[in-house]
Amino acid sequence: MTPEDWSAVRLTAQLATLTTLLLLLIGTPIAWWLARTRSRSRPLVASLVAMPIVLPPTVMGFYLLLLMGPQGPIGQLTEALGLGRLPFTFAGLVVASVLYSMPFVVQPLQQAFEAIPERMLEAAATLRAGPWDRFFSVVLPLARPGFLTASVLGFAHTVGEFGVVLMIGGNIPNVSRVLSVAIYGHVEALEFDAAHRLAAGMVVFAMVVLVALYVLGQRTGRAAERVR
């Protein structure tokens, strides 16, 4: 593999790791809200979160590009804050990935939170645990399989994205040339051997992720039975 290929691998790992960590931070409160709220805006928020599942990535990428561009509200905001423009930067890629992979983190978390019976939280409250205490001492341990699933899915989905990356990040070495873009580039240039090396790696990676996920799924099922 060439140094450029290794750079693509490294960039992809960085992007996926950072995106997953950010999504765990942002997605947890959203998933918690979706799991427990009785608000009438719940279906609307749930739909917004799920949009990337049904939207073509290019459509998302297109609108994100407009929003983040010099004429877009986000672009004007980032420039006003002195952060510069997001399109064709690594930071822009992270923002786009967070939005694009959101449902793959929020939905498993939401399901894990919904599986926790209300009476567990009430029991904790009667044992003097305040709201934060309840979250860390009861919700987190009971939802742990959900967090693992969410992390694996969020990471894998970010690794696999292509359309959004191309729209927001382009194909800049060390900035936005991630694995999927690099493979596309190799194929375009008829470098099938190089494409094979990266593509086969992706196949192996996807397989490992799926096996891990199904093993986790079995444990989650058992854990859910225990709660009931």
Binding site: A125, T126, A129, P141
Partner: protein
Amino acid sequence: MIEARLHLPRDGFTLDVSLQLPAQGVSALFGPSGCGKTTVLRALAGMERAAGRVALDGELWQDDACGLFVPTHRRAIGYVIQEAALFPHLDVRGNLDYARRRAGTARFELDPLLELLGIGALMARRPDTLSGGERQRVAIARALAAGPRLLLMDEPLAALDAARKAEVLPYLERLHRELQLPIVYVSHAIDEVARLAHQLVLLEQGRVVATGTVGEVLARLDLPTARGEGAGVVLEAVLAERDVPWQLVRLQVDEAFSVWARDPGFELGRALRVRLLARDVSLTRAPQIGTSIGNQLRGTVEAIADDDHPSLALVRVRVGANPVVARLTRRSAYALGLQPGMPVWAQVKTVALME
């Protein structure tokens, strides 16, 4: 004193109760399902937001007049529900420690608790490996480990079969005997109430229908508790005499009121609760000879009321200072010419003893 004034519109009825319960002994909230008793308990715990006021021994937990609402985790309560709700990710010790760590200085010592509930051998077990009865005992121990000043129990026996119920009941009786801790106990099972409660609050459709000591309330003929198979009076007695050859003991309620019952093996002088079911009491106008029934009590008819079925009547007879309720056919009541003030003999066939 436990004070609660609660108002909460629900589907089908409005909960509207005003309670003043002594901050000692067991107070039972009794009524059919859907009468609002669980809602009252949840409002005492702060898990349900009803309008009104809640206070324990003068400490305000809720007062809408000044916008005060103390959240559940700041109320010194213990709460036990049907399903136990033990944390599945912790073993028994972990569940107890969870409560103890958060209890501060108010907590009970752990060892006496383990002894009291007989769970010392279960400490390393996971909740999913425990039987229903064990789980419930651990849940009670966990609630106590948090150092509550008030223990709230919502049908703690309802999810258990008869054998498990019989296993847990004695522990519940020990609770109020050995801990100076007021308990509010929600139940729809009259036998649990007769066995455990001191105060009884009868709820129906979100309203208090009757309140008083369990003896007073169960002796009233105008309440739904007087109907049904479990109807009968509850009396406090002392184990006064033992007939060793015949394996019987005399239980004395007062000077004028003694009954013989199977020897439970307790020492003389011990206080026991006695339950006389209305269906086990019959009435005669004169003392009987040549009868197998050993308990004949001289008393006076105090009140007569209709039972549910048109063929049946309920008759309350005063024996000394205490009431006995008999269920008779109306034909028998007519044949005996029963009316208030008349002297009669009450024959008691079976006496249920409760600690």
